[in-house]
């Protein structure tokens, strides 16, 4: 907290003077009181100890509820290209259709085009429940376009939740408009509360008609971010904080950031790995700044987990992404295609579809609880990770060769807990698996003991076994959590009987570089 207290002493001029150190909001993130004792973001479908008003806001939001992200989709519209700060991890010049990364878009839309696109997607993908504006650039550096888009969407598609992502610099100036626009969720990217650290991340900001650099810039930014966060809380708007983990710059400091945002009532904290491959041309990329490994990221997320839920299923999406998290259907909805589509916005059809989704979710929860009941009374020190190939709905329903990512679960006798996902190169292209792809997939899940798939070919199977990762296809098309706990049980039995020996596995690399689409 010292950094915060120290910083207050400089608080004059344009910086925030709002009261700091507010008591934490009464809700405790989306942790549920499930009998596992694990704090995890909505990994159960139940309301848990969340107040009903908040539960209503998060239960169908794929980013605010890990469990909901198996069932509900989001879309972003890119209407806001201008930005008011410069980040060393961002290069706004870069644009590539195959790339999934914040800031990347293929086309910028006017508010009117954006609404048309929202209606087209909502009619085609009835489980699309959330519209976000997340740049490229900062939506609040383009307030007219951003709020005009939200207003038009709120009128045309009243059931869609509105979401805004911002760097926070202009946030305190727009709070009233945010409330008026019926925006229920705001994400602020906060990478530091200590301006010394901030100066290494942000070369400059543009504020009050001036360019500020170095520590001055970072101090103003941090003050405005925390002030904006408090103001949102006072108005009952749920706020998620995104932080980019930059090794040796803010990795340890993010524990402090976590405490600071927690005490100001943030609902969810999303710590994401830095993306810094040199080909993106960012300052960090060109400087050779490295990104964290999967285990480093997990250790930090685990260290921050407490009363505030940690988001671990963020896909660092494009600013024009469409679909379930982890899939991107934006190519189906270019403005050219959207203009040609015959769009009928049918609220009833959407509602009926979503009711069916709710039935599926409920079935999954029951299945999980059944599986969990079998563990009661059993104790073991063993904790391990497994990877799962899934297309959504909470099922093991993807072929190993078609998986663009694996979801990673931590298994222990206290339950099955989602801890992240790993993007990989698709193994099967044109029906052939490729060996160098297999080795990059293995690098991506090398900390896992098993990989659950709907189907897998003989060759990758034997290679996985050689590596020490057990391919498991006997639970094809069954629920993830239930299957994982059943497998874990048999694993423990095998260890007990001496049939296998439990050994720790290594670390895994976070996939950088272009997403090679299977489609």
């Amino acid at each position: 907290m010292n950094a915060v207290v120290g910083r207050r002493e400089y608080a004059d001029g344009p910086v925030a003077t709002g009261k700091m150190m507010q008591p934490a909001a009464e809700h405790k993130g989306c942790r549920t009181s499930a009998n596992t004792g694990h704090a995890s973001c909505g990994s159960r479908a139940g309301q848990g100890d969340l107040p009903t008003g908040i539960w209503e806001k998060v239960k169908n939001h794929p980013c605010y509820s890990e469990e909901a992200h198996h069932h509900y989709a989001r879309m972003h519209v890119a209407v806001a290209p201008a930005c008011n700060i410069q980040c060393n991890y961002c290069n706004r010049k870069y644009d590539c259709a195959n790339e999934s990364r914040p800031g990347v878009v293929s086309e910028k839309l006017t508010p009117e085009q954006a609404v048309r696109k929202v209606l087209a997607v909502a009619s085609t993908i009835p489980q699309m429940t959330v519209l976000g504006i997340a740049g490229p650039g900062d939506p609040l550096a383009n307030p007219e376009k951003t709020f005009r888009t939200f207003d038009l969407v709120a009128k045309a598609a009243p059931d869609i939740k509105l979401c805004l992502s911002t760097n926070g610099l202009a946030l305190p100036d727009h709070i009233d408009t945010i409330v008026k626009s019926r925006i229920e969720h705001v994400t602020i990217t906060i990478n530091m509360i200590d301006p010394e650290i901030g100066a290494k991340i942000y070369p400059w900001i543009f504020f009050n008609h001036k360019r500020y650099t170095g520590i001055d810039a970072a101090r103003i930014l941090a003050d405005r971010q925390l002030q904006g966060l408090e103001m949102l809380g006072e108005r009952g708007i749920l706020c998620k904080v995104n932080s980019v983990m930059i090794p040796q710059i803010n990795d340890h400091h993010l524990v402090e950031v976590n405490k600071a945002v927690k005490s100001r009532g943030a609902f969810l904290h999303n710590i994401m790995p830095l993306i810094s491959a040199p080909q993106y041309g960012t300052v960090f990329g060109l400087n050779g700044q490295r990104c964290p490994t999967a285990q480093q990221l997990k250790v930090l997320q685990d260290a921050c987990e407490g009363e505030i839920a940690m988001m671990r299923h963020c896909r660092q999406c494009r600013a024009d992404a469409v679909g379930l998290l982890g899939e991107d259907r934006s190519a189906e909805f270019t403005i050219g295609q959207v203009m040609k589509m015959d769009v009928k916005y049918d609220l009833e059809m959407r509602k009926a579809y979503q009711d069916r989704v709710e039935d599926e979710r409920a079935a999954k929860v029951t299945a999980y609880q059944d599986g969990l009941a079998k563990f009661t009374g059993e104790m073991s020190e063993i904790t391990l990770l497994v990877a799962v190939a899934t297309k959504g709905s909470g099922l093991i329903n993807e072929h190993f060769g078609h998986a663009k990512e694996f979801q990673v679960y931590e298994l222990s006798t206290s339950g099955v807990k989602f801890v992240g996902h790993r993007r990989v190169d698709v193994y099967c292209q044109d029906g052939h698996g490729e060996e160098d792809r297999l080795s990059t997939i293995i690098r991506g899940i090398d900390d896992c003991h098993a990989v659950f798939v709907a189907k897998i070919g003989g060759c990758p199977k034997s290679n996985l076994i050689k590596t020490g990762i057990e391919p498991v296809d006997q639970y094809a098309h069954e629920y993830i959590e239930k299957s994982a706990s059943a497998w874990f049980r048999s694993y423990l039995d095998r260890v007990k009987s001496g049939e296998i020996q439990h050994a720790k596995r290594g670390d895994a690399a976070i996939r950088q570089g272009a997403l090679i689409s299977a489609a």
Binding site: P81, A82, C83, Q86, G137, A141, F206, H209
Partner: protein, 74 residues
């Protein structure tokens, strides 16, 4: 001397456009341009030329030396 935008460097991010106190900046053929006769170098409005201070690509909004300084014109 008014400012000009080096077209090949402009990313069309539009950050400069709404900031100009003289509405001298507009979009043309996918990029942004400054109308030199309208640019006052922000003198009389702000301490810094707004287009220069806000542009993410350094060296893109630059002085156009083919024009006389704004104050000499006045």
């Amino acid at each position: 001397m008014p400012f000009k935008i080096i077209a090949s460097q402009c990313t069309s991010c539009s950050a400069c456009e709404p900031l100009c106190p003289n509405v001298a900046i507009s979009e043309k053929a996918g990029g942004f341009v400054i109308e030199p006769a309208k640019c006052t170098e922000c003198i009389g409005y702000f301490e810094e030329p707004q287009c220069v201070a806000a542009c993410p690509v350094d060296g893109t909004c630059v002085i156009d030396t083919s024009w006389p300084p704004y104050q000499a014109q006045a």
